[in-house]
C-alpha cells in the first residue's frame, strides 16, 4: 500500500515537473529571444511570413495566452517544422530515436557489464592493488572528453589497426546483399529476429566504438557506486554471519552482497543515463551516428530554433521519465525506499 502511494506521488510530481519544463522551454524559445518570430521561422523569411508566424505563435498576445497556445500545440504533437529540413520536428525526432536509443542502451549495457564487475573487484580487494587500479580507470573514464576519446579510438582502431568501422550505423552496401528488415528499427534486434547473421555482425561492429566511447563516463560512476554499495553491505551482520558459518568468500561476495547492493547501483545507472544522453551528442558527431544527437547539433549550428527547442523539451521529458522509472523500480525492489 505504501509502495503504491509512493509511486502515485512520484508520478504526480513528475507531471508537475513536466509542466514546469514546458514553461521553461516556452521562456527560452519565446521570451528570451528579442525577435522570436524571426528566430522561429529562420532568417530568409519575408515580412509577411514573420507576421503570419507572429500571429500563429500568438506573439502579439499576453504571455499567459501565448503559453496556452504553445501548450495546445504541444499537446497536439506540434513542435513546429524544422527550418533546415522543412519537415515536422516530431517526425525528425521519432525517425531518429531508434538509432539513438540503440546506441544509448548498448553504451549503458556495456557500462554496466564493465562497471559492476569492476566495482565488485574493487570492494573485494579494498585498499589493495585492484582497488587502486579500478579507481584510476574510473576517474580517467569520467575525465576524458567524449569528443576526444572518440577521435583517439578512431585513429587507433580504424586508421592504424583496421579493426573496426570508422563511422556510421551499418555498412552502406549491406542493403544490397543482406538488407535489414525494419521491425523495431533497432538494427541489432531486427537482424537477430530475422536471423540475418551477416547484418548482425556488421551492426555489432559498427556499434563497438560509439558504445565504448559513450560508456567511458558511466563505467567510472557505476564502478564507484557498486564499490560503495558493496562495502556497505559487506559490513552488515548477515554477511558476517554467513562468513562465520564458513560459506565461501566468493559466494558471499558475489551472491549475497551483490544482490543487496543492486538497488543503489540501479539508481546510479538510471542517473548516468542522463549523462549518457548528452554524451550521445558528441559521440554521434564523431561517429556520424544518425541519431538525435547529430540532429540536435546540426540544428544548433544552423540555429534551427524549432528543432532545438523540440529536442530540449524531449530531452528533459526523457530525463524526468528515466528518473521516475528508476524511483519506481527501486521502490518495488526495495520497499524501504518508499518509507523515506
Amino acid at each position: 500500500m505504501r509502495q503504491f502511494e509512493f509511486i502515485l506521488r512520484r508520478i504526480l510530481t513528475s507531471l508537475f515537473v513536466l509542466i514546469g519544463v514546458s514553461i521553461m522551454t516556452f521562456f527560452i524559445s519565446r521570451v528570451i529571444p528579442t525577435n522570436a518570430a524571426a528566430m522561429y521561422i529562420g532568417p530568409k523569411a519575408r515580412q509577411e511570413d514573420i507576421d503570419r508566424v507572429t500571429k500563429q505563435l500568438g506573439l502579439d498576445k499576453p504571455l499567459p495566452v501565448q503559453y496556452m497556445i504553445y501548450m495546445n500545440q504541444l499537446l497536439h504533437g506540434d513542435l513546429g517544422d524544422s527550418i533546415s529540413t522543412k519537415r515536422p520536428v516530431l517526425v525528425e525526432i521519432t525517425s531518429r530515436l531508434p538509432a539513438s536509443l540503440e546506441l544509448l542502451f548498448s553504451g549503458m549495457l556495456l557500462a554496466t557489464l564493465i562497471g559492476v564487475p569492476l566495482g565488485v573487484l574493487s570492494a573485494r580487494w579494498q585498499g589493495k592493488l585492484p582497488d587502486t587500479g579500478v579507481r584510476a580507470i574510473s576517474i580517467m573514464g569520467v575525465s576524458m572528453p567524449a569528443f576526444y576519446l572518440g577521435l583517439l579510438l578512431q585513429i587507433f582502431l580504424f586508421r592504424d589497426l583496421h579493426l573496426l568501422p570508422l563511422a556510421g550505423r551499418v555498412s552502406g552496401d549491406l542493403q544490397f546483399t543482406h538488407p535489414i528488415q525494419p521491425i523495431t528499427n533497432f538494427f541489432l534486434i531486427d537482424s537477430l529476429l530475422t536471423q540475418n547473421w551477416i547484418a548482425l555482425k556488421d551492426v555489432a561492429l559498427h556499434l563497438v566504438l560509439p558504445a565504448l566511447t559513450l560508456a567511458a563516463y558511466p563505467i567510472g560512476l557505476i564502478a564507484r557506486m557498486t564499490r560503495a554499495a558493496m562495502l556497505e553491505v559487506l559490513e552488515q551482520d548477515y554477511i558476517r554471519t554467513a562468513r562465520a558459518y564458513g560459506i565461501r568468500d566468493s559466494v558471499v561476495t558475489y551472491l549475497y552482497a551483490l544482490k543487496n547492493a543492486i538497488s543503489p547501483t540501479l539508481t546510479v545507472i538510471g542517473l548516468t543515463f542522463a549523462y549518457a544522453l548528452t554524451g550521445t551528442f558528441f559521440v554521434e558527431i564523431i561517429f556520424d551516428w544518425p541519431g538525435l544527437g547529430l540532429f540536435t547539433v546540426r540544428s544548433l549550428l544552423a540555429v534551427d530554433y524549432p528543432a532545438i527547442m523540440g529536442m530540449t523539451l524531449l530531452g528533459a521529458a526523457g530525463y524526468v521519465l528515466i528518473n521516475l522509472v528508476v524511483d519506481v523500480l527501486q521502490a518495488w525492489i526495495d520497499p524501504r525506499i518508499s518509507l523515506k
Binding site: 521519432t94 531508434p98 570508422l166 563511422a167 533497432f186 549550428l301
Partner: protein, 551 residues
C-alpha cells in the same frame, strides 16, 4: 524480489520497443520500395549481385522537388532529371550537348527560340516526354521555382506541335544558357507536377518524375540515398555501367577521406586539401585539379565611413595578402580572381586588372585619403561553417593591422550573417566574406549584376537578389552592364567588351575584394573510369552515367 526485477526490465524493454515501432512507420516506405536484387535487365547477362557504385558526398537534400530545388541536392537531381540541353565544359568542340531537345534555333533578334524535342523519351513514371510536358514544366518553374528569376526574359512558352516548343522573349537573352541551368530547368513528368500541386509532400516519399538515367530508390535523411538505373533510359545502357549508386551523406571531409582510403566507398567528393598528397603518392589513385564555378568575394560596406571613400577601399585591396590567402585558405587550390567572374565562365577575361599585395602603396593611398597610419576599425563577418573563410580571415586581420586598420573577426552562421547584412544600416558589418557561384553559366547577368548592380533611390540599394552587399550604386557601372547584358545574344563581341569595361571599373572602384577562384580537386581511384568534370555544374562532380569500372 529478483523476479520483480526481471518482469520490470522486460516491461521496460517492451515499452521501448513499442515506442520505436511507432516511429518505424515513418521510415518504412523508403526501405519497403526496394525491388528484389536479382531482377536483371535483358540487355546485360544476369549477375548475382548488382554492380554498385559507392560514393561519399557532403551534399544534403533540402528538397526532392525538382522545381523548388536550388541547393546542394543538385548533385543528385542532375542524375535523375534532365534539361533540354547541357552546357559543355570550356574548351569543348560543341558548346552544348543536346539532351531532351535534339536541336534548337534562335531568331536574329534573339526574341524567339524554338526547341525540337527528342522523341521516344519516357519519364520514370511511364509518362511520355513531349512538348506539352515541357511547357508544363517550364511554366511551373517560371511560376515558383527556387530559381524562377532565370526565366525572367521569357514572355510565353507555346506548344507548336507534339515535339516542338517555342519560347517568346520580351528582351533578347541567351536562352540556351538559361535552359542548361542546374536549377529551375528540369523537365518533370506532368503526373508528378499534378501530384505535388495537390500534395506538397509528394516527393518526400522518395518518388521522382524525371527522365534521367537513374531514379531515386530510397532516401534516408542525413544518411544515404540509393539510386537505381532506369532501364528505359533513352540513352540506352552499356555493359559495365552501374546498376545502383549508393550515396553516403558524410559532412566531414576527414571522414570521407578515411572511407575512401579504407575502401568503404569508391569515390569521395571532398578530401581535406592538405591531405591530397596522401593520394598523389598512392599508385591506386589519380588526383585531378580543375577550375571551378566558385570564388571568394569580400564586400566593403560603402555606406559606412571611411569605406565610402574609394581610395580607402583601394588601399585595403592592396593590403590583402592574396598569395597567403590562397596558400592557407585553399591549400594552394586557387588562383587570384580577376573581378567577380570565375575563370572559365563567361564573361571572364584576362584583360581585367588585379590588385597586388603592396603594403607601401596601401599606406600611401590611406594617407592620401586622410587616414595616415589607418586609425579606424572594421568589423568583418564570415560564415562559421566555411572552413576556408575561417582559415584566411585572420590573415586579413593581421595584414590590415600592419597599415593601422584594426579588424574584429566575427564568425557567424551564414544565415545570421545574411540577416545582419540586410538589417539596420548602422549595425551592419563593415566587411562581408562570401563564397559565390552563378546560378547558370552566365556570370555577366549573374555575378556582375547580382553582386554589384545597385538599384533603388536610397541606401542600401539592394537589388532583387539581395547579394549586392557593398550597398554600392554606380550609374556608370549600371549603364555598362545594361548594355552588355542587352547585347549578349545580338552582339556578343561588343557585349564582352562592355563587360570587361564594367569589370575594370569595378576593380578600380573596389566596392569589394576579389580574393580567389577556387579549384576543385578530385581523387579518382584507378579502378573507376569515365570521369568527366564539367565546371558548369557545381556540386555535380560526377554524372553517374559516365562512370564504369576500369577494365
Amino acid at each position: 524480489m529478483n523476479k520483480k526485477l526481471l518482469v520490470l526490465s522486460l516491461l521496460l524493454v517492451a515499452a521501448v520497443l513499442m515506442t520505436s515501432c511507432g516511429s518505424a512507420a515513418t521510415q518504412a516506405p523508403a526501405v519497403a520500395s526496394q525491388p528484389p536484387a536479382t531482377q536483371a535487365p535483358t540487355a546485360i547477362p544476369p549477375t548475382p549481385a548488382p554492380l554498385v557504385l559507392k560514393i561519399a558526398n557532403t551534399a544534403n537534400v533540402t528538397t526532392w522537388d525538382p522545381v523548388l530545388s536550388f541547393s546542394t541536392e543538385a548533385a543528385y537531381m542532375a542524375n535523375v532529371y534532365e534539361q533540354l540541353l547541357r552546357i559543355n565544359p570550356p574548351g569543348s568542340a560543341q558548346k552544348f550537348t543536346p539532351l531532351l531537345a535534339q536541336s534548337w534555333d534562335a531568331s536574329a533578334d534573339g526574341l524567339t527560340w524554338t526547341f525540337h524535342l527528342r522523341q521516344g523519351v519516357k519519364f520514370h513514371d511511364g509518362e511520355t516526354m513531349n512538348a506539352a510536358a515541357v511547357k508544363k514544366s517550364i511554366d511551373a518553374e517560371r511560376d515558383h521555382a527556387g530559381a524562377s528569376f532565370i526565366w525572367a526574359p521569357v514572355k510565353s512558352v507555346d506548344v507548336v506541335d507534339d515535339y516542338t516548343v517555342k519560347f517568346t522573349l520580351s528582351y533578347a537573352a541567351p536562352l540556351d544558357l538559361i535552359a542548361s541551368s542546374l536549377y529551375g530547368t528540369w523537365i518533370v513528368s506532368p503526373k508528378a507536377l499534378d501530384a505535388v500541386a495537390a500534395n506538397p509532400k509528394y516527393y518526400d516519399s522518395g518518388v521522382d518524375g524525371g527522365t534521367g538515367p537513374y531514379t531515386i530508390q530510397s532516401y534516408t535523411p542525413d544518411q544515404q540515398i540509393v539510386f537505381s538505373r532506369f532501364d528505359d533510359y533513352w540513352g540506352g545502357w552499356k555493359p559495365g555501367q552501374y546498376d545502383k549508386v549508393l550515396v553516403n551523406i558524410v559532412p566531414e571531409a576527414t571522414t570521407q577521406e578515411q572511407m575512401l582510403s579504407g575502401g568503404q566507398v569508391d569515390l569521395a567528393e571532398r578530401i581535406p586539401p592538405q591531405d591530397l598528397g596522401n593520394f598523389q603518392n598512392n599508385p591506386n589513385f589519380t588526383v585531378d585539379t580543375e577550375p571551378s564555378f566558385f570564388n571568394y568575394v569580400g564586400f566593403f560596406n560603402t555606406l559606412h565611413k571611411p569605406l565610402d571613400d574609394p581610395k580607402v577601399r583601394q588601399a585595403l585591396s592592396y593590403a590583402i595578402p592574396y598569395g597567403d590567402i590562397i596558400k592557407i585558405g585553399a591549400q594552394g587550390l586557387g588562383t587570384q580572381s580577376r573581378g567577380p567572374v570565375p575563370q572559365g565562365v563567361f564573361p571572364w577575361s584576362p584583360d581585367v586588372n588585379q590588385y597586388t599585395y603592396d603594403l607601401a602603396k596601401a599606406k600611401q593611398l590611406l594617407s592620401d585619403a586622410g587616414h595616415p597610419n589607418g586609425g579606424f576599425s572594421i568589423n568583418l563577418t564570415y560564415a562559421s561553417e566555411n572552413d576556408s573563410e575561417a582559415a584566411f580571415a585572420p590573415l586579413i586581420k593581421d595584414s590590415f593591422s600592419q597599415i593601422g586598420v584594426n579588424v574584429t573577426l566575427t564568425p557567424m552562421p551564414f544565415n545570421q550573417q545574411w540577416e545582419l547584412a540586410k538589417g539596420d544600416i548602422a549595425k551592419q558589418q563593415d566587411m562581408f566574406l562570401l563564397l559565390y557561384w552563378p546560378t547558370y553559366s552566365d556570370a555577366g547577368s549573374d555575378n556582375l549584376w547580382s553582386m554589384f548592380y545597385g538599384t533603388g533611390d536610397k541606401p542600401p540599394y539592394l537589388n532583387a537578389t539581395n547579394f549586392n552587399l557593398s550597398y554600392w550604386k554606380n550609374d556608370d557601372y549600371n549603364k555598362l552592364l545594361d548594355t552588355a547584358i542587352g547585347e549578349e545574344v545580338t552582339n556578343p563581341t561588343d557585349s564582352q567588351a562592355q563587360f570587361v569595361k564594367a569589370m575594370n571599373l569595378l576593380v578600380d572602384q573596389a566596392p569589394g575584394v576579389f580574393f580567389y577562384d577556387t579549384k576543385a580537386a578530385f581523387v579518382i581511384p584507378k579502378s573507376i573510369a569515365g570521369f568527366k568534370y564539367n565546371l558548369n555544374y557545381p556540386f555535380v562532380y560526377y554524372f553517374f552515367y559516365d562512370l564504369h569500372p576500369a577494365q
